[in-house]
């Protein structure tokens, strides 16, 4: 079954936000600290929804303030599916 890894997310962030940080680094930081503004987070979330066929509702996106919370949330949804 598909899972979102930190490597996957780092790749998506590179593409969506021009944020060129490694998977190890993003695990311990917030999107804001990584220079991803609200539009960048929406863009990242939208890419994940389309690629992984997982729905992230509006209310959830507001809570997903870090790569770690994003990875956890998406993988929970994928596991539940």
């Amino acid at each position: 079954m598909a899972r979102l890894t930190f490597e996957d997310l780092a790749g998506i962030m590179r593409e969506c936000a021009g944020a060129d940080e490694s998977a190890d680094l993003i695990a311990g930081m917030t999107f804001e600290e990584l220079g991803c503004d609200s539009l960048a987070v929406l863009q990242i979330a939208s890419q994940i929804q389309n690629r992984y066929q997982v729905k992230i509702p509006d209310e959830a996106i507001e809570e997903l303030t870090s790569p770690t919370s994003m990875v956890d949330y998406v993988n929970q949804r994928l596991a539940a599916a």
Binding site: E15, C16, G18, A19, A40, Q43, S46, Q47, Q49, N50
Partner: protein
């Protein structure tokens, strides 16, 4: 009244990325027109265009701006950096509300927009990205330049197709008159994606030639339309007293501007170009005999070339002023075109040489101009830049090497 001095230039042109690269290519008569590489143009009747060579956004602008902006804005951000660097100003040291950005825009983020609209129609609304809302619209460049450099004064975006670059510059001068101490103006364009090209085909004004040396021949007997291009130029302007106080002499002054609109199609009346030129000269306090060179709009469509030649002759007399069109080496750059012509005119003043029009071999009947076809060394103290925009727009800007006061 203070004069508006151009103190910095930044050029991203099909025949040179960087001001000096562009200028040396232009004086050498090196064209930037070639087969389109941004997509496969094989199926289209127009396969030539001017593309900016060697532009790598990742090297030219901050990485975070790349995914959120179109190629058009990438080029403008890079050219703005060059222009500010050339002017020797650090915006962080200037009062934030006294800096403004006024750019021309013509077709917005065309390539970005085509990608997003394709996702919408092919896959559905959820596939349209968050950046479409800020990348495609016509104000994207002005907004991004303002943000990047902390310029919080009154900003603007003016659209008048190819004439817009001059109108934007004139508006930037207005901003200096009402208190700004620095304005970034100019424009770029990048409409070379399939939908962008197909939209341009609809005018019937594009050349279908496959020979880069013969495709765009304004005023020539074999004129067959123009070649589109991407890129443009950004200019930094300052009140001359402000610039002088910091020991900067600049390239020349934006001394006068005139804008007119053509009578409706079919009226049979004279188009508005001559009148725009007269207004620009009048505001610059110049007589036609003071003008050393005219940078022509040079559409390359025979009837429109004759109209322009008539306007120039009516104003200056027969073969009385050197006329040139270095855009024969770049193609028409729409929002970037007139800004690039201003840059060329200012460089001509700096170096005392008029850049050539390439490719033209035999002037068409009714186009009896003194068309400069080899670089011509001569002092350039005043230049007139002409521009016409699709739909009836005419603009003219008079540039002067010495300080002249606009009335």
């Amino acid at each position: 009244m203070t004069a508006a001095l151009v103190t910095g230039l930044g050029v991203a042109a099909p025949n040179g990325l960087g001001t000096e690269e562009y200028w040396s290519a232009t004086l050498a008569g090196r064209t930037g027109i070639g087969r389109i590489t941004r997509f496969d143009p094989e199926r289209y009747p127009v396969r030539l265009a001017g593309e900016v060579p060697g532009f790598a956004a990742a090297e030219a602008i901050p990485g975070r701006l790349i995914p959120q902006t179109d190629h058009w804005t990438h080029l403008a951000l890079a050219a703005t950096d060059m222009a500010l660097d050339d002017a020797g100003v650090d915006p962080a040291e200037l009062p934030e509300y006294e800096m403004t950005v006024v750019t021309a825009s013509s077709s917005g983020g065309t390539e970005f927009g085509q990608r997003e609209i394709e996702r919408l129609w092919d896959k559905g609304p959820g596939w349209v990205g968050a950046y479409q809302s800020i990348a495609w619209f016509y104000a994207a460049t002005t907004g991004q330049v303002s943000i990047r450099h902390g310029m919080r004064g009154p900003c603007g975006v003016i659209c008048a197709e190819q004439a817009g670059g001059l109108d934007a510059a004139a508006h930037a001068v207005r901003m200096l008159r009402s208190g700004a101490r620095l304005a970034v103006t100019g424009g770029t364009d990048a409409s070379l994606c399939p939908y962008g090209l197909v939209a341009q085909l609809a005018t019937g004004a594009l050349s279908t030639s496959d020979d880069p040396g013969r495709a765009y021949l304004p005023f020539d007997r074999e004129a067959s339309g123009y070649v589109p291009g991407e890129g443009g130029a950004m200019l930094v302007i300052e009140p001359d007293d402000v610039a002088r106080a910091r020991g900067v002499h600049g390239y020349g002054c934006l001394a006068g501007h005139g804008a007119t609109f053509d009578p409706p199609p079919g009226s049979g009346r004279e188009p508005g170009l001559r009148r725009a030129a007269e207004i620009a000269l009048d505001r610059a306090g110049l007589a036609p005999r003071d003008v050393d060179v005219v940078f022509a709009d040079a559409l390359g469509v025979p009837a429109r070339d004759r109209e322009e030649a008539r306007a120039i002759e009516a104003l200056f007399g027969p073969r009385a002023v050197p006329v040139t069109a270095p855009k024969t080496m770049t193609g028409r750059l729409y929002a970037g075109g007139a800004a690039l012509d201003m840059a060329a005119a200012l460089l001509a003043m700096r170096d005392g040489v008029v850049p050539p029009t390439v490719g033209v071999t035999e002037l068409a009947d009714g186009c009896g101009l003194d068309l400069v076809r080899e670089p011509r060394e001569m002092p350039v103290r005043a230049a007139l830049v002409l521009a016409r925009g699709h739909g009836g727009f005419n603009s003219a800007v008079a540039l002067t090497a010495v300080r002249r006061t606009q009335n």
